[in-house]
C-alpha cells in the first residue's frame, strides 16, 4: 500500500477540508443570526415591574421570595451565614415616621436605567441590556464587589461558597456577584418573571414600560407611583405604588 501522500493530494485535501469547515461555519453563523433576529433585544422595549404595596400581602411577598429561590436555585447555601447567603429578593417592612403607616414590599434589583453597578464595574461584567435588564456576566466578574458598594438598593449578593446542583438556565459561581435577572430566561421566551407569576392578584404587574397598550404602561399612567431613592435619578424599571 502506498502510504505516501504527494504534495498535490495534500493541498487538495487541505483545501477541501478548509472550504467545508468555512462553509459549515458560515452556515452556523447565519443560523445564529437568524435566530437572534427572530427575537432581538432592542431598546424599543423597557421591561419593568409595578408593585402595589396596598394590595400586596405579606404572604404574597413570601411567595415571591420562594418562587424566585425555586426558579433560580439560590438560598440553599449550606456554609454561608445569614448575611452571606444569597438574597436576590427580600421582604421589607417600613413604617412612615410621621403617620405610623406600615407598608410591606418586595425589594430586588431595581433595573435602573442609569445603574451605578454598571458604572463602577471595572471589567464590564455588570451590564444593562438594551431592554433595560441589568445583569452580571459571571464569566467576566472578577469578584471585586465594587458593584455591591455602589448599589443603593442592597440588591446584590456575593457567592461565598462552592455551589452544586445549579439550575441549567441560571449558572452561578463561587466568588462572583449575582442579583435578580428579572428572570431574563423566561422573559426572552415571552413569559413573566417567577415572582410576578407567584402572586395571584394584580398586586405585581410586569411588562414593557414603553408599550402604550401594556397593562403596566396603562396602570402607571393612571395611578400614583414612586421609585425607591428617586432622588438619585437612576430611573428604575421597578416601581412601587402605595408607599
Amino acid at each position: 500500500m502506498d502510504s505516501k501522500i504527494n504534495r498535490r493530494d495534500f493541498i487538495k485535501a487541505t483545501t477541501a477540508t478548509t472550504a467545508s469547515v468555512a462553509a459549515l461555519g458560515a452556515g452556523i453563523t447565519l443560523t445564529t443570526y437568524v435566530n437572534a433576529n427572530e427575537n432581538p433585544v432592542t431598546n424599543e422595549k423597557r421591561w419593568g415591574m409595578l408593585v402595589d404595596t396596598n394590595r400586596l400581602t405579606e404572604s404574597d411577598i413570601d411567595g415571591m421570595v420562594t418562587a424566585c429561590q425555586k426558579e433560580n436555585g439560590w438560598g440553599n447555601e449550606t456554609h454561608s451565614t445569614g448575611d452571606q447567603k444569597a438574597s436576590w429578593i427580600k421582604k421589607i417592612k417600613v413604617k412612615d415616621t410621621a403617620t405610623q403607616r406600615i407598608s410591606n414590599l418586595a425589594l430586588m434589583c431595581q433595573h435602573c436605567e442609569e445603574p451605578p453597578c454598571v458604572d463602577v464595574c471595572p471589567t464590564n461584567a455588570s451590564m444593562k441590556r438594551e431592554d433595560g435588564i441589568v445583569l452580571v456576566d459571571k464569566h467576566r466578574c472578577i469578584g471585586c464587589r465594587y458593584c455591591m458598594m455602589a448599589c443603593p438598593y442592597d440588591a446584590r449578593s456575593f457567592v461565598h461558597e462552592e455551589l452544586t446542583n445549579q439550575k441549567e438556565h441560571m449558572p452561578r459561581g463561587k466568588g462572583t456577584v449575582e442579583a435578580c435577572t428579572l428572570c431574563v430566561h423566561r422573559v426572552d421566551k415571552g413569559e413573566q418573571p417567577a415572582c410576578v407569576e407567584a402572586v395571584d392578584s394584580d398586586a405585581v404587574i410586569f411588562g414593557d414600560l414603553l408599550d402604550v397598550t401594556s397593562n403596566i404602561h396603562q396602570t402607571l399612567k393612571r395611578v400614583q407611583s414612586t421609585q425607591i431613592r428617586a432622588d438619585l435619578n437612576l430611573n428604575t424599571g421597578v416601581r412601587y405604588s402605595g408607599i
Binding site: 448575611d83 412612615d96 464595574c121
Partner: protein
C-alpha cells in the same frame, strides 16, 4: 555638601537572614490564608453581603495610599528642589514601589476570582473609577521605575527632574483616584463626599512618610551607617505637619457631614455610638494615631529623640490603619438610607456585623511583609542607600 556615594547593603549578617526568614514566614502565612479563603470561598471570612470589603481592603488601601505618599521625599527633592532630600530620593522611589506592590497583592488576592486578573487587565470599563485605578497603578510602576532609572544612571540624571514632575503629578492623580473609589459612591451616607479625594492625598503624605522614616532609620541603624540629625529632624517636622493636616481634613469632613441633616445618622454612628468604630476613631485614629505622635514630635522632652520619632511613626501607621478601618468597614456597617422619612422595621437597616478572621489579618500583614522584603532585597542588590547621611554629607548648610 560633599558628593553623595550610594552603596548596596551587605546583607550577610545573621540579622539580615533572620529578618528575611521572619518576613518570609508572614508571606507564607498570607498565602496559606489566601488558599484557605479561595478554596472554601469567602464564607470562611468575616465578610458578607453587607460588609463586602473587610480587613484585606483596609490593609490594601493603606499600603496603596502610603505608597504614593512615600514618593513625596523624592518629589520634594526633584520637583521642589530641596537639596537635603536628594540623597533620599532613590529610597523614596523604592519604598513607594514596594508598598504599592504589597497593597496590590492584597487587593488582588482578596478578589472573588483572583485567577481572572487577566480579565481586569484586558477588559476596561472606562467609566469605572476602579478601572482607572488599575491603569493608574500600572502607570505608577512604570513612571517611578523610569524615575529611578534617571536617578541611577548618571547620563540620565539631567532628566530626573522632568520625570520627577511627571511622577509627582501621576501620584496626585493616583491618590485622587483611590479616594474617589469612595467619594463617588452616591448611595452610601459615609462616602459620597468630594473631600474624600484630597483627604486621601493628605493621608498618603502622613502614612507614606511614617513608613519611610521607619525604613530609613532601621536600615541606617542595622547597616551601621551614619544618619545625621539634619535629615532626621526635618523628616520629623514634616511628619508632624502632615499628621496635623490629616486632622484638619478629618475635622472638615466630619463637620461638613454633620451640617447635612441627611448625614447626621452616620456621623452619630461613627463619632458617638458606633461601638468598635467609635472607639477606633477616637482612641485609634485621633488619640493614638494623631495626637500622641504630634506630642512626641513637638514636645521639648521628646523632640529629636529617634526612638520617640520611631514610636510616633509606628503610631501614625497604626492610626492610619484604624482610620481606613473606620472609613471602609464603618462606612459599610451603617445602613444605606433606602426610604428617607421612613423607618425600616424588617428586612434591612440593621448595623451590619463584621468580625475579621485570622486569614484576613494574615493576608493584610502579608502585604506589609511583601513590601518590606522587596525593600530589603533591593537595597542589597542596587545602590539605593547613600553610604553616609551624616550632617556634613547631607546637609547643604552644614557648618563644621
Amino acid at each position: 555638601m560633599s558628593i553623595i556615594r550610594y552603596e548596596q547593603t551587605q546583607g550577610k549578617s545573621l540579622g539580615f537572614y533572620a529578618l528575611i526568614a521572619g518576613l518570609g514566614a508572614f508571606i507564607l502565612a498570607a498565602l496559606g490564608g489566601v488558599y484557605f479563603m479561595e478554596h472554601n470561598g469567602h464564607h470562611v471570612t468575616g465578610m458578607n453581603n453587607h460588609i463586602v470589603w473587610g480587613l484585606p481592603h483596609v490593609f490594601a488601601l493603606f499600603l496603596i495610599v502610603a505608597a504614593s505618599g512615600a514618593l513625596n521625599i523624592a518629589s520634594i527633592a526633584s520637583v521642589f528642589n530641596k537639596k537635603i532630600y536628594k540623597p533620599l530620593s532613590r529610597l523614596s522611589g523604592l519604598v513607594a514601589l514596594a508598598l504599592l506592590a504589597g497593597g496590590l497583592m492584597v487587593l488582588v488576592l482578596d478578589l472573588g476570582r483572583p485567577d481572572r486578573l487577566i480579565v481586569a487587565m484586558t477588559e476596561y470599563n472606562f467609566g469605572s473609577i476602579f478601572a482607572w485605578n488599575i491603569i493608574l497603578y500600572n502607570g505608577f510602576f512604570l513612571i517611578v521605575g523610569i524615575y529611578l532609572w534617571m536617578m541611577f544612571e548618571r547620563r540620565m540624571n539631567k532628566y530626573s527632574r522632568k520625570v520627577g514632575i511627571a511622577a509627582f503629578i501621576w501620584r496626585l492623580i493616583l491618590t485622587t483616584g483611590t479616594g474617589s473609589i469612595f467619594g463617588f459612591l452616591v448611595a452610601r451616607q459615609a462616602y459620597d463626599a468630594v473631600i474624600m479625594a484630597p483627604m486621601f492625598i493628605v493621608m498618603s503624605f502622613a502614612f507614606g512618610l511614617a513608613f519611610f522614616v521607619l525604613v530609613l532609620m532601621a536600615s541606617y541603624k542595622w547597616t551601621e551607617r551614619p544618619l545625621g540629625d539634619a535629615i532626621v529632624n526635618r523628616l520629623s517636622n514634616l511628619l508632624g505637619v502632615f499628621v496635623a493636616a490629616v486632622l484638619y481634613f478629618v475635622a472638615v469632613y466630619h463637620l461638613g457631614n454633620l451640617y447635612l441633616a441627611e448625614n447626621s445618622g452616620v456621623e452619630n454612628f461613627i463619632l458617638m455610638d458606633g461601638g468598635i468604630y467609635t472607639q477606633l476613631f477616637w482612641y485609634g485614629q485621633i488619640i493614638l494615631g494623631s495626637l500622641i505622635p504630634l506630642v512626641l514630635i513637638y514636645s521639648p522632652s521628646t523632640k529629636g529623640n529617634r526612638s520617640m520619632l520611631g514610636l510616633a511613626s509606628v503610631l501614625v501607621i497604626l492610626g492610619g490603619i484604624a482610620q481606613l478601618y473606620v472609613i471602609i468597614v464603618g462606612g459599610q456597617a451603617y445602613p444605606m438610607e433606602l426610604f428617607p422619612g421612613k423607618e425600616i422595621l424588617e428586612g434591612y437597616g440593621a448595623i451590619a456585623l463584621y468580625t475579621p478572621t485570622l486569614a484576613e489579618l494574615m493576608l493584610g500583614l502579608g502585604g506589609i511583609a511583601v513590601a518590606l522584603i522587596a525593600i530589603i532585597f533591593l537595597v542589597k542588590v542596587l545602590p539605593f542607600l547613600p553610604e553616609s547621611l551624616a550632617d556634613n554629607v547631607a546637609d547643604p548648610h552644614h557648618k563644621s
